[in-house]
Amino acid sequence: MAEVAMFKPGPLPVGPTRRQGVGWWGAIMLVASEGALFAYLLFGYFYVGATEPPGWVLEPRPDLRLALPNTVLLLLSSVAAWFGEHGVLSRRRGRALLGFGLAAVMGVVFAAVQWKEWHLKHFLPGTSSYASLYYATTAFHMAHVVIGIAVLLGIFLWTALDYFSPRRHMAVSAGVLYWHFVDAVWLAVFTTYYLTPYLGFGT
């Protein structure tokens, strides 16, 4: 008779511990699916741009005076969120609150500047397919920024309530991952709409 392969357990952590636990995997699934969504949006831009005659891009030389600093600001907010997460991991609550709060404020400023940027455009969503794609893509991103700010405020609140520790911080890590994603996707959107025309795409 063959021996019975019974798993003989050693001590196992109980509950989501650090980034171990299904929640972290769930956050990765969310980011994968959302990333795909933006890939299709950008596919739309490149596909229509490549099939339309030259002159399709309404702004052959996009104005970078607001957009570039705003991009830098958003990337810095990712650093702030990382700093906040690090604060939780090293049990320094003040740091954590500073990081999350700063990231949320930078997110709000980014959104306000982007709002201004929309109003400075000389075209409307219905002007042409380029305009429609521009507004749809940036609005999709804006929606993600707004949700991301809500997430940051949530983990700010929970950190203030002292819910987390270096061992229990799944919500923090998942939320910060989402914020990093929002920022990384902006880089792709920014490159597509603000930089590729300088490289000659669609012009």
Partner: protein
């Protein structure tokens, strides 16, 4: 590290006392709160299956109406507009509301049982996925019943579906309903992936997974990244229609072909997503009735994954006739032909399993084995249309209609009916009636082939799809009459199947835990399974834990009676993705109505968007946000926050 945070799980056997305690912990609460709040994957799975079957019947009735209209030339049973709505709603129903959800239903019910665990990774997400599916189905059918069903075919090409040509609410219902449904599919897919990777019995390494879970894993991975494409396409269409954007309108520099790309970027992987889990059912079910393990397990598992990967690169074969450059067409044609290789692997594996086995001819076996024939016929007509010149000849004719029905009925409905007979005893504790089952099988089989085999010829004779009638001078009458007769025979078979289900549920022969003498873990628990599935967590040592005595393939044998108790709460064990080594004990969430309220909020939001009532949309949005907040609030009981604080 605090002592309370680490634990050596107790090991023991399944005593009645343990079962009583687990039952108390895992059971769904009573009353309406329990009904709306249950997170039991088995209950949710059954709901999925029942709802999807209801949609199958609706789609079937729509098909029968169309067949009556086409039974002879120049009939006036339906107006052209009614016919448009019917064929579009039929496609939408069968493809989006039946074919995928039915597989989600079986996978929901079976995943933890097949994998040897007590729950899915995200039980609340599971409930959400069902509620949104139900809401989207109702949303779409409210459109249909109020005279606003989709009317441009299920793939809904622009510019027909743009407002200039289609001013009613039809396309708005369809667009928003599909976006809503996409949320359900996506969260469901994420749940299957994480469950498969993290929630298995110790020892169930990746090479011991039942093939059906391979199929669902691959299909879910695809859904996760392709559903956003179609949701985006429908949203952009809705914006074009309601807010004057120019995504697909050529007058404003939009690109009608962008719709087709976004739709088929989703659509073709989706075709595999609605057949791969069903093929997995055959790969797991057929061998049980051949009294031997599946031939070529590893090849079949790998070809499942390979099919999906190739499936991402074939979408343009739906667009051969749109005037794309020849070089591009030849690439996609080649990819479409290459994809037959992994499909053929599965076919030969099944044939070899039957050939070298000792088949027991049950109803389930009949469905599983005849599916192979349907698959080959549908596959061959697929290879034919993968060739560009042949496709140019056949596109938009009934040949394509025949192909899609051989693929979808053959590789989805046949396995599903087989799976229903196969797992019915597990789900209900009773057998389905075999005599009635065989009658219904032969009616379904005969009716289906009488209806759809001649349809290839109808297409070759040039009858275009989607026309509401035809003249007698076209000489299509005889073929169409045969097809209509066949479709009614098929419907009769399905009716008998339903009678069988309803009768057997109450009066069927009582089934033991392992009525078919099958080999996988779900058959090691009682029929129907207790709410906690496994009283002790099994340890798996082979692919066939219940056949180890006779196969003797492995050194060690699985431990089914003795294992971790995990009875201090609603506990499960998570495992590493490849080797299935236990790495965490998780407390699972209990009943909650948050997913239900989230769905109510989202539904109000979508109704508000449809009718463009801002206050309704905003109210729905707020309710949605509140439900999410309640849901995500870190709980002490789930150890999502430090027990000492807050």
């Amino acid at each position: 590290m605090k002592a309370a945070d680490m634990r050596v799980p107790e090991v023991g056997t399944a005593t009645p006392e343990l079962r009583r305690r687990l039952d108390e912990i895992w059971k769904t609460g009573p009353g309406i709160a329990g009904f709306l709040g249950t997170v039991d994957h088995k209950k949710i799975g059954i709901r999925y299956i029942v709802t999807a079957f209801a949609f199958l019947l609706l789609g079937g009735i729509e098909a029968l109406l169309m067949r009556l209209q086409l039974i002879g030339p120049d009939l006036k049973l339906l107006t052209p507009d009614q016919y448009n709505v019917l064929f579009s709603t039929h496609g939408m129903t069968m493809i989006f509301l039946y074919a995928a959800p039915i597989l989600s239903g079986f996978s929901n019910y079976l995943f933890p049982l097949l994998l040897g665990n007590r729950d899915m990774a995200f039980p609340r997400l599971n409930a959400l996925s069902y509620w949104i599916y139900l809401a989207a189905g109702i949303f779409l059918y409210v459109g249909f019943l109020t005279g606003h069903g989709p009317n441009d075919g299920w793939f809904n090409y622009v510019p027909y579906s743009e407002r200039d040509f289609n001013p009613g609410l039809n396309q708005d219902f369809y667009s928003l309903g599909m976006v809503l449904l996409g949320i359900s599919t996506t969260v469901g897919a994420a749940n299957f992936i994480v469950t498969l990777l993290r929630m298995r019995a110790p020892g169930m390494s990746i090479n011991r997974l039942p093939i059906m879970t391979w199929g669902t894993l691959t299909a879910s991975a695809a859904n996760l990244v392709v559903v956003p494409s179609v949701s985006l396409a429908f949203l952009l269409l809705w914006l074009d229609r309601q807010f004057g954007t120019q995504f697909f309108r050529s007058a404003g520099g939009g690109q009608p072909l962008l719709w087709q790309h976004l739709f088929w970027l989703f659509g073709h992987p989706w075709v595999y997503a609605i057949v791969l889990p069903a093929m997995g059912m055959v790969s797991d079910g057929l061998p049980v009735f051949c009294r031997r393990p599946l031939v070529g397990y590893s090849l079949v598992a790998l070809s499942t994954v390979a099919t999906m990967i190739l499936g991402f690169g074939v979408w343009v074969h739906h667009m051969f006739a749109t005037g794309l450059p020849g070089l591009g067409l030849s690439f996609f044609s080649a990819a479409s032909i290459v994809i037959t290789f992994p499909s053929a692997v599965a076919v030969f594996a099944w044939l070899a399993t039957i050939w070298t086995g000792r088949p027991v001819v049950t109803t389930a076996f009949l469905y599983f084995s005849s599916m192979i024939l349907m698959f080959v016929i549908g596959g061959v007509s697929g290879v034919m249309t993968a060739s560009v010149p042949v496709d140019w000849q056949l596109t938009d004719t009934y040949f394509v209609v025949a192909h899609i029905h051989y693929v979808l009925i053959g590789i989805n409905l046949f396995p599903v009916l087989g799976a229903a007979h196969f797992w019915f005893p597990k789900m209900t504790g009773r057998f389905m009636d075999e005599r009635l089952g065989k009658w219904s099988f032969w009616l379904v089989f005969a009716g289906f082939n009488i209806a759809f085999l001649p349809m290839h010829l109808t297409g070759l004779l040039g009858m275009p799809r989607r026309i509401y009638t035809y003249g007698p001078e076209m000489h299509w009458t005889a073929l169409n009459t045969i097809t209509t007769c066949g479709s009614f025979i098929l419907a009769l078979g399905i009716l008998l199947f339903l009678v069988n289900v309803l009768r057997s549920r109450r009066h069927g022969r009582v089934a033991p835990a392992n009525p078919w003498d099958a080999s996988t873990l779900e058959w090691s628990v009682s029929s129907p399974p207790p709410e906690y599935n496994f009283a002790v967590i099994p340890t798996v040592a082979s692919r066939h834990p219940l056949w180890e005595d006779r196969l003797q393939e492995e050194q060690a044998t699985s431990s089914l009676d003795r294992g971790m108790l995990l009875d201090r709460g609603k506990e499960v064990v998570t495992t590493t993705p490849l080797d299935a080594e236990p790495d965490l004990i998780l407390e699972m969430p209990g009943d909650t109505t948050a997913p239900f309220w989230l769905t109510v909020g989202l539904s109000l939001l979508f109704i508000g968007l449809l009718l463009r009532v801002v206050s309704l949309a905003a109210g729905g949005g707020v309710l949605t946000a509140l439900a999410i907040l309640v849901w995500l609030w870190p709980r002490r009981a789930l150890r999502e926050r430090e027990p000492a604080h807050g």
